[in-house]
């Protein structure tokens, strides 16, 4: 049998087995995040700050460690034999092969029942819708008057006044003095909240709470009447119960939960200087923008005004004036030229007259010369030189062929005519000597 195992099964190391065990234990819900009731024994407050003890009952014992970081909120001293309820989980310490309970919180026994009662009340009020987010009222941004429900002797009211006045120097605070723990605390707190809800006090926001204390000290803020008073407040209300681990139910019922009264004052009261800075900032941004805009328009207007037309409105007319003068000049010049030209042409016409006259004279001269030439050609002048004209039957006889012997002809000379009879027709022409 043993041999078979050795040959067919995997062999684990101690570390493997311990690892599996550790994982198994630490992932089991029933072993983690649980409350365990027992009696303290072998208690050791170690110099490191950790607290070691055994938790036991009649039948069993378990080692427990309450580490420094977790036990710093412990508000009572653990004692040997003390009955307690611890909250935490089981873990495996591999090096020693042991398991132990890591403690996160410790309550004295008897508180366990109280816790259960609170848990039940919480469940009940939750079902009623008392903690519903939609019930929460917003806090005013600028409360004028803060109502405070707390002890007149405690540090809470003093812290609130200091913080509130530092943030907003002219804030108004009205205290409803209350007993916040022990006999009569519940009635006192409820009365305080209700009183401050009376409109006559002009309260804008309520801070109800107390400084830190033990679990029992804070119990009043887990009482049903108080929780209901928080939920029923007409005025927005801040729960300000100094606590380390568990939130009191008032935190759930209030409009806002603050971890301490000082924190509540910081939540409720704005920093006046910041608001003034914000208003200044918006105002400055608006002004800067508007100034920019106006400036840009002013610049545009300046540019327009700087144009020559507006600087010297006559310039508009000047141009036309210049053009007009120019046109006038040109018209004058043209007219003058016209007149001169015409005059010149007219004077040229007078010359023409002269030319015509001269020419006429020329013609006249030529004419007269021709006339005198004509005079030379006239038969009269020829006749004067001794020539004569012979006519027969009024016809000029230029050849002997038209004359016959015996014809009567008329001979015309320079100063008269004669009737002659033809005696002889001779074909020869001779002048005197031969005849």
């Amino acid at each position: 049998m043993i041999e078979e195992i050795e040959h067919t099964e995997t062999v684990y190391s101690v570390s493997d087995i311990t690892g599996i065990l550790k994982q198994l234990i630490e992932s089991t819900p029933e072993l983690n995040g649980v409350w365990v009731k027992g009696e303290i024994s072998n208690l050791t407050y170690h110099s490191s700050g950790h607290i070691y003890f055994s938790l036991k009952d009649e039948g069993a014992v378990i080692q427990a460690v309450f580490f420094k970081h977790a036990n710093k909120h412990l508000d009572f001293k653990l004692e040997e034999g003390m009955s307690v309820v611890v909250f935490g989980g089981v873990t495996v310490f591999e090096k020693r092969g042991s398991y132990q309970f890591i403690v996160y919180k410790i309550r004295k026994e008897g508180l366990g029942e109280l816790l259960q009662k609170i848990e039940k009340l919480k469940e009940k009020l939750h079902k009623e819708g008392l903690f519903a987010p939609e019930r929460k009222k917003p806090l005013p941004a600028l409360p004028k008057r803060i109502g405070v429900v707390t002890s007149p002797t405690g540090a809470a009211i003093r812290d609130i006044i200091k913080v509130a006045m530092r943030r907003f120097p002219n804030i108004e605070i009205i205290l409803a003095p209350a007993k916040v723990q022990g006999e009569g605390a519940v009635e006192s707190i409820v009365t305080g909240i209700q009183e401050l809800n009376n409109p006559q006090w002009g309260v804008d926001v309520i801070i109800a709470g107390r400084g830190g204390g033990s679990f029992e000290d804070l119990m009043a803020f887990n009482e049903e009447a108080v929780v209901r008073a928080f939920a029923g407040s007409r005025v927005p209300i801040i729960s300000a119960v100094g606590h380390q681990i568990d939130h009191p139910l008032s935190d759930l019922a209030a409009d806002v939960a603050a971890p301490t009264p000082s924190a509540a004052a910081e939540i409720a009261v704005p920093v006046k200087a910041e608001l003034i800075a914000a208003i200044d900032n918006y105002t400055m941004r608006m002004m800067r923008r508007l100034t920019m805009m106006v400036q840009s328009f002013a610049n545009r207007i300046m540019l327009i005004v700087r144009r020559r037309v507006f600087q010297n409105p006559m310039s508009l007319v000047e141009n036309y004036e210049l053009a007009l003068a120019d046109a006038e000049n040109r018209i004058q010049a043209l007219t003058h030229k016209c007149i001169t030209d015409t005059k010149e042409r007219l004077s040229r016409v007078r010359d023409l007259e002269l030319i015509i006259k001269n020419r006429l004279q020329n013609y006249w001269h030529i004419f007269m010369m021709n006339v005198s030439k004509l005079e030379h050609l006239s038969p009269v002048s020829v006749l004067k030189r001794g020539y004569s004209i012979t006519l027969k039957d009024s016809q000029i006889v230029s050849s002997i062929k038209k004359i016959h012997q015996g014809d009567t002809v008329r001979v015309i000379v320079y100063d008269g005519s004669m009737q002659c009879d033809i005696q002889l027709v001779n074909e020869e022409v001779s002048f005197g000597k031969k005849g």
Binding site: P140, A141, L142, K144, R145, P152, T153, I157, R158, I161, K162, V163, A164, M165, R166, F168, P169, N170, I171, E172, I173, I174, L175, A176, P177, A178, K179, G184, E187, S188, T191, G192, E195, L196, N198, W201, K272, L275, I276, A278, I279, N281, Y282, T283, R285, M286, M287, R289, L290, M293, V294, F297
Partner: protein, 95 residues
């Protein structure tokens, strides 16, 4: 505008003031609109500043009187630190 400003709350006024500043910076507005918004903004800023000065700096404590009525009484505190000058001043009970 004046009347409206009187009715609104401080936070509404501050919010509107911021919106106006942003609106002006967006550059979407004409000069005339800008001037209108600016005037409204100045109005709101004035309103906000007034609101900040409304509270009168007083610390009071309620005290139940023998006749059953509740009265308030003044508590003196140091102006610079807010420290209660006389612890007796702040004692009281509503029960």
């Amino acid at each position: 505008m004046e009347k409206k400003a009187k009715k609104i709350t401080f936070e509404d006024a501050l919010e509107e003031l911021e919106a106006i500043a942003s609106k002006l910076e967006s550059g979407e507005l004409t000069l005339e609109q800008s001037i209108q918004y600016y005037e409204r903004g100045v109005e709101l800023a004035k309103f906000c500043r007034q609101k900040l000065e409304e509270a009168e700096r007083k610390i009071e404590v309620l005290q139940k009187q023998p006749d059953g009525t509740v009265q308030k009484k003044s508590v003196k505190v140091k102006e610079d630190t807010g420290e209660i000058e006389d612890d007796e001043d702040i004692q009281g009970s509503l029960l």
